[in-house]
């Protein structure tokens, strides 16, 4: 397989210690219908690190990633990416973040190439046709480039969504279960992407249940349990204990 090319913005190069933390949250909480999915997380991830979010279903991994991706607003506390607040500087954060959720966000009636062309237009990718060809090659979908996504398997969709990330110049890549739905070759592809992002100085946070294959690729690990940080290990990531002693409640005016 040829070398995967990662395009980086000027922000992402340089020694990590000269950059602001890629991710910093302070007492971050997010409630759904009054119950917290993330219940007071204070986390700091250094730039250029690859960090896994671990924990059982419902631990808050996806919610944390979605807040950092600006898909959800924090209910309490704050979160920042490259020193930019996700609520206040949303547009600037979106320029820096690439997010792969459980859904791929692809259009069924468009071909793989057309889907990437649309993403390239949205991301203002320079020299788009060459970059699209390269991304299709990187995720090994050249042969199906002109087929409609409607006929793709779940694994092929995931590959294409990963290819979409390669069109941008994100300094923070957020991946929710990147190994899900992929065959053995696809999993190797994700490994190679993680290595390429790491080598390019791009920060990666991924939620995963597949931990054994990640050992060589990870700098740090964060284990979440019931919306709180249960354990932090490895390099590049630190956590503060929650400042809130109990689960946050909305402020209710009383008479």
């Amino acid at each position: 397989m040829p070398q995967i090319t990662i395009y980086v913005s000027p922000r992402s190069v340089g020694a990590p210690d000269t950059r602001p933390p890629a991710v910093a949250t302070t007492d971050l909480a997010r409630l759904f219908a009054g119950s917290p999915a993330v219940a007071g997380v204070s986390l700091r991830v250094e730039a250029g690190r690859t960090v896994a979010l671990l924990g059982p279903n419902g631990a808050g991994k996806t919610t944390l990633l979605r807040v950092l991706a600006t898909a959800l607003r924090p209910s309490y506390g704050s979160a920042s990416v490259d020193g930019l607040d996700v609520g206040r500087d949303t547009h600037l954060v979106r320029e820096r973040v690439a997010y792969l959720s459980h859904a791929t966000g692809l259009y069924d009636d468009l071909t793989a190439r057309e889907n990437l062309a649309f993403a390239a237009a949205m991301l203002s990718t320079p020299d788009p046709s060459a970059r699209i060809d390269r991304a299709l090659g990187d995720v090994e979908l050249e042969a199906r480039a002109d087929d409609r996504v409607r006929d793709f398997s779940a694994g092929m969709r995931k590959r294409l969504a990963l290819g979409r990330i390669l069109l941008g110049r994100a300094s923070l890549v957020l991946l929710d279960e990147p190994y899900a739905a992929l065959d053995a070759e696809g999993m190797v592809l994700v490994d190679q992407l993680l290595a390429a992002w790491h080598a390019a100085g791009v920060t990666v946070m991924l939620a995963s249940h597949t931990t054994d294959r990640l050992d060589a690729l990870l700098d740090g690990r964060v284990t979440l349990a019931r919306g709180l940080v249960a354990e932090v290990s490895g390099a590049g990531v630190t956590s503060m204990p929650p400042a809130l002693p109990q689960r946050p409640r909305p402020v209710v005016a009383t008479r």
Binding site: T104, G105, D109, E114
Partner: protein, 229 residues
Amino acid sequence: MTELRAEARIALAIAHKDAIAELRGRHAMVSTLFFAAVVLLLFGFALGPDAARLAAAAPGLLWLAIVFAGILAVNRLHLLETDDDAFEQLALYPVARRAIYAGKALGGFAVMLLLGAVVLGAVGILFAVDIGSAWGPLLATVVLGAIGIAAVGTFYAGLTVRLRAREVMLPLLMLPVLAPLLLGAVKATAAALAGDPFGELGAWLQLLVAFDVIMVVAGAATYGYLLED
């Protein structure tokens, strides 16, 4: 200026993407046009075979058919965004929110223009109305009506796309807002078909222009909030 050009490029990319998807799913467009034709036929049956009565009712029936079929059309343009949560992906791109609105509304405008032209032709044939003699003012009315329906429809389709009851909610929200447009378009069409004996055509077209401007500006200013959590 360069910023505006970048936003126009984004809007065109969104409209182009919608056009491809819409043309690939040709059956959807055809069924919308067929729906409009069926609505016209049923109105015809309801009013009876009196040709003079049908011709007199033609402007109202024309615009009711365009509005009903238009609701289906703008709804479908947003349903494209529900493919594997594409709407969220669209919202997360670092592009101006009003450019996203402009792109979706532009796609809606193109569909409404096609729909308006086809329904106008169908009314001419079914109700024996001479549209050839007044094609200029009729075209202006259809274009202004298409802009208004696309502007309102894009906003409300964005509002309801994530709701389970969207098929009910969309017409419920859209139809009252479209009332001024319906009034202006019907009156302008009637005046155009009659040869504008009272010189009122210009005033009705002005009402449509004002409606369009207000709705486009309001939609562009507020659509972004629909994309956020």
